[in-house]
Amino acid sequence: MKPFVHRVLFAAFASLIGAFFALPMLWLVFAPFDESPSLSAAVPRPPTLSNFGDLFDNPQVLRSLGNSLLLVGGVVGLVLIVGAPAAYVLSRIRFPGRNLFLYMLLLLSSVITGAAAIVPLYLLIFGLNLIDSFSGVTLALAGGMLPASIFILKDFTDSIPRSYEESARVFGASTFQALRDVVFPVVRPGLAVIAVWTAVQVWGNFLVPFILLRTPDKSPAAVLMYSFYTEGGQPNLRLISAFSLLYTVPILVLYIFVNRRYGFRFHGGIKR
């Protein structure tokens, strides 16, 4: 390929990405500080914090963010506790049809978290008597996230040579010691990636909590956001923009924290 062609393709691609993402993102940064935000992104003059003052007059705002955090914590915990051992086993044991099994899982997961299985899911949670409880939402979300998480974690575990555990075993380590001393420290960045990814997905999930929860006080932020949108027909852009920004901050903080702590280094083995 001539570098010229490459450069043109790349510029086209970059502009496309820009068109899709830059405008909404700019709006998200500017509108919350605008006295009267409009539909276009414009630098507010002068910037104001009054939108946030009005927002916090609604007690549901902080409570919904707290609910979201609770759900995220529960789902991330459940996904890591169940997904990590499952991924390890899938990575280390070969059985016939393993790959088919993994792809089935992956496709199923998008069905579950999408609307397709929402009725059976509702029935399942209803049968477990967990409607209108955080446990029910946590279980449903974790069930939806697990297949893809297991798939990605298995990929991470695959990059750890078996010789790591085997050498530990030859030295006399028990299964548990080998996992704790050798496998876990190496797979930790993978767990961090999954944690962030799961958190982002749960944070943004509207459908599952909307269907499975009844009490408005239990609504997570994604559901509250939707209620702002429809309330009174005409969207209140001042509240919506301020809440949108507030809603985005925890995800950014989490991403920056995990990136700094674990660096998302994808070293599986030793590079040569």
Binding site: P161, S167, V170, S174, R272
Partner: protein
């Protein structure tokens, strides 16, 4: 130092693949024993069975006087050096070397001292606080050795430990490893697919194919009298000449002439494969009984490998530098009759 006694070990994998087929092998005290074979021959499975990483389907395994057949790897008192070294990337060199001692609940200070000692004996002193990712391939290999030494095992198990080094380092590491094993006088089992490594390192060696041992002996014995065509073709840095012919009165007759034989019990008229290493074939003037034209000459450094066309067959000879012919030259070929080997053409086994 105990040896290793393998009695009719069989290993079948799920799905019915037989990786080891009723193997018997006896490795002596303090011996450097090489397992040589192409990939898939079962050599690594055998090593892993000795380590306890693969349970044997049947058969028994003794290390010294102890029956270790059913013991887990950690109780066999062996140390294994893996092909990829299996250094833990999140531990320093010191922690890596001390890890086996930590497992054995040696106190921190003592295990650090032992790690320093083992590391020092392999000139790793300056690297003890580095992580494996910051080391060169050769340094990583020495860390893996130091970790094995720190265990003070009864048997060292080496799984192609030189195969990740580049050619130059591999030669240096080879000499170093041989000297180290000689100094420690610990029994070592060494798996490799590289015949030159096995020849150079081993006191004795076994050549494996398809889960079976095809020949056991000293490197010199395997080099000079390979028991079958498989071993003949596998050993030697230049391939052995193997020419199909018929035993006659004056030697082995083939399309290009008659190949000389010292003495043989093979009956006249038998179909045989005549084997002779290029090192034992000389070149002379075109007046010899065997003569042909030179097809290829390859520089081996201080020697040349010359391929001569004899009728439909080709024969290779190594000649000292300065004596190599030109391509197209007509030359005589003089195989050393005393070095010639005859193999049964059907069975591929050496005829005495």
């Amino acid at each position: 130092m105990p040896g290793v006694e393998i009695a009719s070990i069989t290993k079948e994998f799920a799905g019915g693949v037989t990786a080891l087929d009723a193997l018997d092998l006896s490795i002596e005290d303090g011996e450097f024993f090489a397992l040589l074979g192409p990939s898939g021959c079962g050599k690594t499975t055998l090593l892993r069975t000795i380590a306890g990483l693969e349970p044997a389907t049947s058969g028994s395994l003794h290390i010294g006087e102890r029956d270790v057949t059913g013991l887990p790897p950690g109780e066999r008192n062996v140390a294994m050096v893996f092909q990829d070294y299996a250094l833990y990337p999140h531990m320093t060199v010191r922690e890596n070397i001390a890890y086996p001692l930590k497992i054995k609940k040696v106190a921190r200070q003592q295990r650090n001292e032992e790690a320093e000692g083992a590391g020092g004996s392999l000139s790793l002193d300056a690297l003890m606080d580095r992580r494996p990712g910051q080391l060169s391939g050769g340094q990583q290999q020495r860390v893996a050795l130091a970790r094995a030494i720190a265990c003070r095992p009864d048997v060292f198990l080496f799984d192609e430990p030189l195969s990740n080094l580049d050619a130059r380092l591999r030669l240096e590491a080879r000499g170093f490893l041989k000297q180290l094993q000689h100094d420690l006088a610990t029994t070592a089992v060494y798996v490799t697919h590289d015949q030159s490594e096995a020849l150079a390192l081993a006191d004795r060696m076994a050549v494996m194919e398809l889960g079976e041992i095809r020949q056991v002996g000293t490197p010199a014995a395997l080099f000079h009298r390979p028991a079958n065509l498989f071993v003949a073709g596998f050993i030697g840095s230049t391939p052995m000449n193997l020419i199909t012919g018929v035993v006659g009165a004056s030697g082995v007759a083939f399309a290009g002439g008659v190949l000389p034989v010292a003495e043989t019990s093979a009956p006249h008229g038998a179909d045989v494969v005549y084997g002779i290493r290029p090192e034992y074939v000389g070149l002379a003037g075109p007046g010899e009984t065997l003569a042909g034209s030179v097809k290829v000459t390859e520089n081996l450094g201080a020697q040349f490998l010359v391929t001569v066309e004899l009728g439909e067959a080709q024969i290779r000879a190594t000649v000292p530098e300065g004596e190599e012919p030109q391509i197209g030259d007509r030359v005589g070929v003089t195989p050393d009759a005393r070095r010639a080997l005859l193999y049964d053409a059907a069975e591929g086994t050496l005829l005495a």
